[in-house]
C-alpha cells in the first residue's frame, strides 16, 4: 500500500544529487574543473529538462572526463571531435538537450575545424570550453591559448606562437550565443550556464579554469579575488561598461578602438559604452573579447546573444515540407520508382 501511495504521488522534484553519477571524480585536488561540475549539477534541476533528455559529449583531455560524472546520457568521444558527434545526434534528435565539454587543446587545436563549423551552422548545441591555457592530461605542453613565450615541457625556450582567444574565435565563427565566465566565480558561472542552456542555437561559453598542476595562477593577475573588481569588466546587457571597485573606470569608443577612461563626472558617464549583446554585427563584441590586462580589463559575461534559425530546425522544416508536398515515401513507392518494365513468364515484355 505504501508503494502504491508513493507511485501515485507526483515524482519528487529533481535535485543536484540526481545529476551526480556514481563514478569517483578523478581530477587533481584543487582543479578548477570541480567547481564547474558542481555548478552544472546545481543548475541542472533548475532547467526543467528531464534527466534522460540531456546528453553530454566530450573529446579528450582533463575536461573531457566531465560526462562520466554527470548522471545523464554521456558520450566520451575522440580527441577534438565531440562537436561532430553532437551534430549527428542533434540532427537525429531535436528533442534532446545536447552539451559538449571541451578544452583549449581539444577544441581549438585538434578540433578547431569541427568547433568552427558547429558554431557557424547554428547547431543547437551548448559548447563549454574549459580554458586553462595548457595541456593537462598529457602533462604540460603549450596549448593554442598559451601566451607567447610561455615556458612549458614542449617549449623549454618559450613558445614562439601567438595564442588565439576562444571568444574571438567563436564570434568570428558566427556563434549566436557567446559568453565568458570563470570557474572560481560560481554565481557568475551558474548564471551564464543557465543562459547558455536556454539559448536555441549554437551557444559557446569559455570558462577560465585554473590548472593548479601545470599552469597554476594563469588568471590570478586579473581574476584573483582581491583584484578582479579593478581588472575585469562584467558585461551586462543594457548597462554601461563600468568597472573598478568604485565603478570609477569605464570603456568608451575612441574610433577605431576601445579606450579606457576614468569615470568621475557625468560627462564621463555619458561617454560610456552601453553593452548590447543583441547586436547583429559582432564587431564590438569582438573588440571586447580581445581586451587583455594590464592595458584593459578582461571582459566576462555574455558578448553576443542573437536569434537565428537553427540547423536542426531548418532541417526538420525541409523534411516536413518535402513530406507535405510529395507525401511520405513508402517502401512500395521506393521500389517502384524510376522507369521500369515487366518481363512476363513467357518472356514477353511490357513497359511500365
Amino acid at each position: 500500500m505504501a508503494d502504491l501511495n508513493q507511485a501515485l504521488q507526483a515524482p519528487p522534484e529533481p535535485t543536484k544529487k540526481d545529476f551526480m553519477s556514481d563514478q569517483e571524480v578523478r581530477w587533481c585536488p584543487g582543479c578548477g574543473d570541480y567547481s564547474i561540475l558542481a555548478q552544472m549539477q546545481k543548475i541542472m534541476p533548475e532547467l526543467g529538462i528531464p534527466r534522460e533528455k540531456i546528453v553530454f559529449f566530450s573529446g579528450i583531455g582533463c575536461s573531457s572526463r566531465f560526462p562520466y560524472y554527470m548522471n545523464t546520457y554521456g558520450f566520451h568521444t575522440i580527441h577534438g571531435r565531440a562537436p561532430a558527434v553532437a551534430t549527428g545526434l542533434r540532427c537525429a534528435r531535436p528533442d534532446l538537450s545536447v552539451w559538449v565539454v571541451t578544452g583549449d587543446g581539444d577544441g581549438l587545436s585538434i578540433g578547431g575545424n569541427h568547433l568552427m563549423h558547429a558554431l557557424r551552422r547554428n547547431m543547437d548545441i551548448t559548447i563549454l570550453l574549459f580554458n586553462n591555457r595548457i595541456y593537462g592530461l598529457t602533462k604540460g605542453q603549450a596549448s593554442p591559448t598559451s601566451e607567447l613565450g610561455k615556458i612549458t615541457k614542449s617549449s623549454p625556450y618559450g613558445t614562439i606562437e601567438h595564442p588565439i582567444d576562444p571568444v574571438s574565435f567563436a564570434l568570428s565563427s558566427e556563434a549566436t550565443f557567446v559568453a565568458r565566465t570563470l570557474a572560481n566565480e560560481p554565481k557568475h558561472l551558474a548564471e551564464i550556464l543557465k543562459r547558455a542552456a536556454a539559448h536555441r542555437g549554437s551557444s559557446f561559453v569559455e570558462i577560465l579554469q585554473n590548472c593548479n598542476i601545470f599552469n597554476d595562477g594563469a588568471f590570478v593577475h586579473f581574476a584573483g579575488k582581491d583584484v578582479r573588481a579593478d581588472r575585469m569588466l562584467y558585461l551586462e546587457h543594457g548597462k554601461p561598461m563600468v568597472f573598478g571597485a568604485n565603478n570609477d573606470k569605464g570603456l568608451t569608443l575612441d574610433c577605431p578602438t576601445l579606450k579606457k577612461i576614468e569615470v568621475k563626472t557625468n560627462a564621463d558617464r555619458e561617454r560610456l559604452l552601453v553593452h548590447d549583446e543583441t547586436l547583429d554585427d559582432p564587431g564590438l563584441a569582438y573588440s571586447l573579447s580581445r581586451l587583455t590586462y594590464p592595458d584593459y580589463p578582461v571582459s566576462v559575461g555574455v558578448f553576443r546573444y542573437v536569434i537565428k534559425p537553427t540547423y536542426s530546425g531548418m532541417l526538420s522544416e525541409q523534411i516536413n515540407d518535402a513530406i507535405a508536398r510529395k507525401g511520405r515515401g513508402t517502401l512500395h513507392d521506393l521500389l517502384n520508382s524510376g522507369k521500369h518494365w515487366t518481363i512476363k513468364a513467357d518472356g514477353s515484355q511490357a513497359r511500365g
Partner: protein, 616 residues
C-alpha cells in the same frame, strides 16, 4: 518511326552481343548519349552493362586528349556481366576521341566519326600531323564518315536556336545514327527529351529533330549497307529497372531504413566518386532521410555515429582518402559498439591517385586500417545492381550486431549501370530494431547470447542514463576499466562478435564443379569479368570453376571447405594481391594471383588467358 519499319528498307544482321563506345569531348554530352542508349536498350529487353569513363578535370580544354570522355555499353540476348572488352563500334566525335580510343579497337571494327570535327585546329590539338580520315591510317577499320555538325545544322535550320545551341544538338544526331545501326526505337529518348526540356519547347523541338535526322541519315544514305538486331535477353520474369551502382546503393540503404522503420542519416564530405550518393540521397527528404554535408571526412563519420547513438541508422560514404581519415572514428564505433555503415567507393590510390579510375586497393585498409584490435564487418558488392542487396545487408548486419560495417564498392560499379530485377517487398530479409527500455535490468555491455551484440539504448529513455566512450570498458557494466584480464576479454569479445556474423550470411556458391584443378575466386566488381571468362571456357570444354565473395569479414562459413576442393585457386584482383594475403593467412591452398592495377576493370580475355595458362 520504329525499328520495324526501317528494317524493311535495308537488310538486318542478327548478332548475339554488341559493344559500343561513345567518345568525345567532355562537353559533347557523351555521358548523356550513353545513358540514353542504355535506357533504350534496357527497354527493348537486352541485358546490358556499362562503363562510363570521364576525365578528372571538370572541363579540360576542348579538343584535347585529357578532355576526352567516353561511355561503353555492351548488350546482348544472353547474360551480360561486363561492359565488353573491346568495342564493335567506336563513335568518335572529334580527333582527340579517335586518338584516345583507337588503341583499344581491334582491326576490322566500325568507327563512326564526326567528319566535321576533323579540321586543322582539332587535329593539331589531338596530335595528328595529317588528317587520318584522308590517309591510310585507318584502313584496317571500317570507317563511316558522317558530317554530323553540318547535317544537324541543316536539319535545324528552321529552329530559332543560336549557332552554339544547334552545334550542341549533334550528340542527339549521333545517337540517332547508332539507334538505326542497332535497330533501337526512338520513342524512349523522344519521351525523355520532352520531359527534360518541358519548360523549353524550342529545345524539345531541336533535340528531337536532331535525333530523327541522325536516324534518317543512317537509313537513307549509302553509308551503311545493313544494320544489326540483337535478340531479347531471357531474363527472369519480374519487374525491372535500370540502375547505376550509386542508385542501387541509395535504394538499398533506403529500403533497409523503411523495413527497419528507423530513419536514415547520411553524413558525407564531397569526394569523387562517392559524392553522387550524397546528391542522390538528398533528394529523398520525403523518406525522412537526413543528409548532412560535413566539414570534413572525420566529421562526416562522427556525425553518423552521433545519429546512430540517437537511434538512427548512421551511414557515411567516401572513397579511399576519406576512409583513411575516418579510421579513428571507426575505432570508436568498434569500442562503443554502435551500428555504423561506411560505404567506400574505391578509387585508384594511394594518396589522390587517379580519382575517377577504379581499383580494389582498400580491402586491407577496410580490414586493418585502424589501431588496436579493431574488427569490423566487411562486405563488397559484385555488380552495380548488387549494390542494392549489399547496402541493405550492411544495414541489417550493422544494426543486428551493433558494429561498423564497411561496404566496398568502386568507381566502376558506382558509375556503371545494368538492369535490376526489383525485389518484392517480401523478398527483403527482415530487419528488426528495438531500443530496450527496461531500467531495472539494463547493463550497458550485457550481450545477446546469440549475436553477442549489446543493446541499443538511446538517449531520451528514462531511467537508463549511462555513459559510453572510447576508453576500455568493463564487461557487462560498461564502466571504464584498466583491468588487464578484462581488456583481453573485451578484445576477444569484439572479435568473436564479428565472427558470429558468419552464421548469418549465405555460404559461398561454386559455379561449376565443386572440386577440380582450378577455382577462380574473386571479390567485388571483378564478378562480371571472372564469371564471363569462366562460363565461356567451360562452354568450350575447359574444366574450371568460379566462386565470388560478397562477404569478406567474416568469410562465408564454408569457404575453407570450398577451397580445399581445388588444387589451384586463381585470385584475380585489381590490386597487388590483398585477398590472396588474407586467404593465405587463414587457409591452406595453392593461391595464385592475377593482378593488374591500371585503373580499369578486368577484360574478360585477360582472365581467360590467365586461366588457359594455368590449365596448360
Amino acid at each position: 518511326m520504329t525499328a520495324e519499319t526501317a528494317a524493311k528498307d535495308k537488310p538486318t544482321e542478327l548478332v548475339d552481343r554488341a559493344t559500343i563506345r561513345f567518345a568525345g569531348d567532355s562537353g559533347d554530352g557523351i555521358q548523356l548519349s550513353g545513358n540514353q542508349f542504355t535506357l533504350t536498350t534496357a527497354s527493348v529487353g537486352n541485358d546490358l552493362a556499362t562503363l562510363p569513363d570521364f576525365p578528372a578535370e571538370i572541363r579540360a580544354p576542348a579538343g584535347t586528349l585529357p578532355g576526352v570522355s567516353s561511355f561503353q555499353i555492351s548488350f546482348s540476348g544472353s547474360e551480360v556481366l561486363t561492359p565488353g572488352d573491346e568495342p564493335d563500334v567506336l563513335v568518335a566525335m572529334n580527333p582527340a576521341a579517335l586518338k584516345a580510343n583507337l588503341g583499344e579497337l581491334p582491326h576490322g571494327r566500325i568507327i563512326v566519326v564526326n567528319e566535321d570535327a576533323f579540321e586543322p585546329g582539332n587535329l593539331k590539338k589531338a596530335g595528328f600531323h595529317e588528317n587520318p580520315l584522308e590517309n591510310d591510317d585507318l584502313k584496317a577499320y571500317r570507317v563511316v564518315k558522317v558530317p554530323m555538325t553540318t547535317v544537324t545544322a541543316e536539319a535545324l535550320v528552321d529552329t530559332k536556336l543560336s549557332k552554339k545551341d544547334v552545334e550542341r544538338c549533334k550528340n542527339f544526331f549521333a545517337l540517332g545514327v547508332v539507334y538505326w545501326m542497332y535497330s533501337r526505337p526512338l520513342e524512349p529518348t523522344l519521351e525523355w527529351i520532352g520531359e527534360k526540356f518541358a519548360k523549353k519547347p524550342e529545345y524539345v523541338e531541336a533535340n528531337s529533330l536532331a535525333l530523327k535526322a541522325g536516324y534518317n541519315y543512317a537509313l537513307t544514305t549509302e553509308i551503311f549497307s545493313a544494320h544489326f538486331t540483337v535478340r531479347k535477353a531471357k531474363l527472369k520474369p519480374g519487374v525491372y529497372r535500370n540502375v547505376t551502382g550509386t542508385e542501387a546503393t541509395v535504394l538499398g540503404l533506403l529500403a533497409a531504413a523503411e523495413v527497419a522503420k528507423t530513419p536514415l542519416f547520411y553524413g558525407s564530405y564531397p569526394i569523387t566518386p562517392a559524392s553522387d550518393i550524397l546528391h542522390e540521397l538528398a533528394k529523398y527528404k520525403h523518406y525522412n532521410v537526413k543528409t548532412f554535408q560535413a566539414e570534413d571526412e572525420i566529421s562526416a563519420v562522427g556525425s553518423a555515429i552521433g545519429a546512430s547513438y540517437g537511434g538512427h541508422i548512421g551511414v557515411t560514404g567516401t572513397s579511399g582518402p576519406g576512409l583513411s581519415l575516418k579510421a579513428e572514428f571507426i575505432g570508436l564505433a568498434v569500442m562503443v559498439e554502435l551500428p555504423l555503415v561506411i560505404v567506400d567507393v574505391q578509387r585508384a590510390g594511394p594518396s589522390t591517385g587517379m580519382p575517377t579510375k577504379t581499383e580494389q586497393g582498400d580491402l586491407l585498409q577496410a580490414f586493418f586500417g585502424r589501431h588496436g584490435e579493431s574488427p569490423v564487418a566487411v562486405l563488397a558488392a559484385a555488380s552495380s545492381a548488387d549494390c542494392f542487396r549489399m547496402a541493405y545487408e550492411a544495414v541489417r548486419l550493422a544494426t543486428k550486431y551493433m558494429t561498423p560495417v564497411i561496404l566496398l564498392s568502386d568507381g566502376y560499379l558506382t558509375n556503371g549501370a545494368e538492369p535490376w530485377r526489383i525485389p518484392n517487398e517480401s523478398e527483403l530479409p527482415p530487419i528488426q530494431i528495438s531500443h530496450l527500455a527496461d531500467p531495472d535490468t539494463y547493463k550497458p555491455y550485457e550481450r545477446d547470447c546469440l549475436t553477442f551484440a549489446r543493446r541499443w539504448v538511446v538517449p531520451g529513455t528514462p531511467g537508463m542514463e549511462h555513459r559510453v566512450g572510447g576508453l576500455e570498458t568493463e564487461d557487462i557494466t560498461g564502466n571504464v576499466s584498466y583491468d588487464p584480464i578484462n581488456h583481453d576479454l573485451m578484445v576477444r569479445m569484439r572479435q568473436a562478435k564479428i565472427m558470429r556474423i558468419a552464421a548469418d550470411i549465405p555460404p559461398v556458391k561454386v559455379r561449376g564443379e565443386e572440386q577440380g584443378d582450378l577455382l577462380v575466386l574473386g571479390w567485388g566488381s571483378t564478378y562480371g569479368a571472372i564469371t564471363t571468362a569462366v562460363d565461356q571456357l567451360r562452354a568450350a570444354g575447359h574444366k574450371v570453376s568460379s566462386a565470388h565473395l560478397r562477404y569478406l569479414n567474416p568469410f562465408p562459413r564454408n569457404l575453407g571447405e570450398v577451397l580445399a576442393g581445388f588444387k589451384t585457386i586463381l585470385v584475380p584482383e585489381i590490386n597487388l594481391g590483398q585477398l590472396r594475403l588474407l586467404l593465405r593467412g587463414k587457409f591452406d591452398g595453392n593461391f595464385i594471383g592475377y593482378n593488374r592495377v591500371e585503373g580499369r576493370p578486368f577484360k574478360v580475355h585477360e582472365i581467360e588467358d590467365k586461366i588457359k595458362e594455368l590449365l596448360r
